[in-house]
Amino acid sequence: MIEAILTMGISGLAFGVLLGVAARKFRVEQDPRVSRIIEVLPGANCGGCGYPGCSGLAAAIVAGQAPVNACTVGGNTVAEKVAGIMGVQASAVTARVAMVYCQGSRDVAEPRAEYVGIEACRALDQLGGVKGCPYGCLGLGSCVKACKFGAMYMSSQGIPVVIREKCTGCGACVKACPRKLIELVPADKQVHILCRSYDKGPVVRKYCKVGCIACQACVRACPLKAISMDRGTLARIDYSLCDNCEICVSKCPVKTIVSYKLREEKAVS
């Protein structure tokens, strides 16, 4: 017993001393601000900033390659602390939340086949999906599994829902979606066109009741000219122009355009 303790203790000590000497000899000078920034960052290592983990972002901030408010998860409080360490003024972080650009739940876009296989959207995407829409949500919830903050769930009709209060805008779900249906949008923008199908109107109608049919009613209705047609078959909002007036929401004949403000008001009443 005592031999065992001594053996491990002594060899551990010997290697420890060896490594200590080596660490001193081959020391790399590191900016002390890096470790201080790592301390104030959230430490979730979500990668939402585009750098590999919080330490990667800290190094980039000190090197001047990233702005002090690059961490969307930490928001303004973290940005201010980081700015304090770097000795600069922080501009406000524009909070962003994830938005799922598809409403094709099972009741409005009926599945045409049953899928039995790997429970991952990427796998189903290889087969083309079961709903008929080549652009829409596959409904297996890879994005929900990718969310580290519990900010997404699958609705009973098989479409992912973002809990906007919990979403940190890290973008993990954006990367998880093989059909690129999730995007980060400014949190203060309330009106969204939830469709990504580039098919022509009659084709969309065949497989989805809430898909954009490219009637252009919203384009004509928008007083700020914030909506335009993408490839001629899909309406898109320019968020920098939109002022949440919600005129387009009432004009859309297929209810592709939704307003989260109206939804919340309805939920309250």
Binding site: L18, L19, F26, V28, Q126
Partner: protein
């Protein structure tokens, strides 16, 4: 004769990757580029050779006389981890680009089963310190040979049209299997050369 057997055995006949399926994690992980593969090879050669020498000395002078065979795994891991840490400290200073490219796979040499495997084999075959070191070096060279050949193959993938379902790891594992088939050809090399 035994020296030749150890070298040939370690590099070709009992190649760690293709014949014993050890150390596959960094083998698949950092074989995308020839450059990182070479860097990793250097690290593994150093760690495996030094770890073999030190663990053999530890076994012969400390563990065996005191009857502490049951401490072998943890004591060996301590030695290996120390050498990996040493490589990491050194590489961070000397080759920061390579350090970044290797990423997590560098500290993962600690748990590389090929490194622990070679030290355990040394004990089982009761090699002395010198032969253990040689065995470690040969094993590491074999591992390096495997990853360097493989990196050469993987670099060519970039120019090829690979079916989507096979891209990345699936094709890497299939290719590894095919190469291990090729290495089966070395099985009777020693017998053929010396008998």
């Amino acid at each position: 004769m035994e020296i030749i057997a150890i070298i040939l055995g370690g590099v070709l006949i009992n190649n760690f990757v293709f014949m014993q399926y050890l150390g596959l994690c960094p083998f698949v992980g950092v074989s995308r580029q020839l450059e990182t593969a070479l860097g990793m090879s250097g690290a593994v050669v150093f760690v495996m050779t030094m770890a073999s020498a030190v663990t053999a000395a530890l076994e012969i002078y400390v563990l065996a006389p005191l009857g502490l065979g049951y401490l072998r795994t943890i004591a060996y891991i301590l030695v290996i981890a120390s050498f990996v840490q040493l490589v990491e400290i050194f590489m961070k200073k000397a080759a920061p680009g390579l350090y970044k490219a290797l990423g997590i796979y560098l500290p993962l040499i600690t748990t590389n089963c090929a490194v622990l495997g070679v030290t355990m084999l040394n004990v089982r075959r009761s090699y002395g310190i010198l032969l253990s070191t040689l065995n470690g070096l040969a094993g590491a060279l074999g591992w390096s040979l495997a990853i360097i050949i493989f990196a050469g193959i993987r670099e060519r993938w970039r120019l090829m049209d690979i079916p989507k379902t096979l891209e990345g790891f699936p094709l890497a594992l299939i290719s590894t299997g095919l190469m291990s088939l090729a290495f089966l050809g070395f099985q009777n090399l020693f017998k053929a050369a010396f008998h």
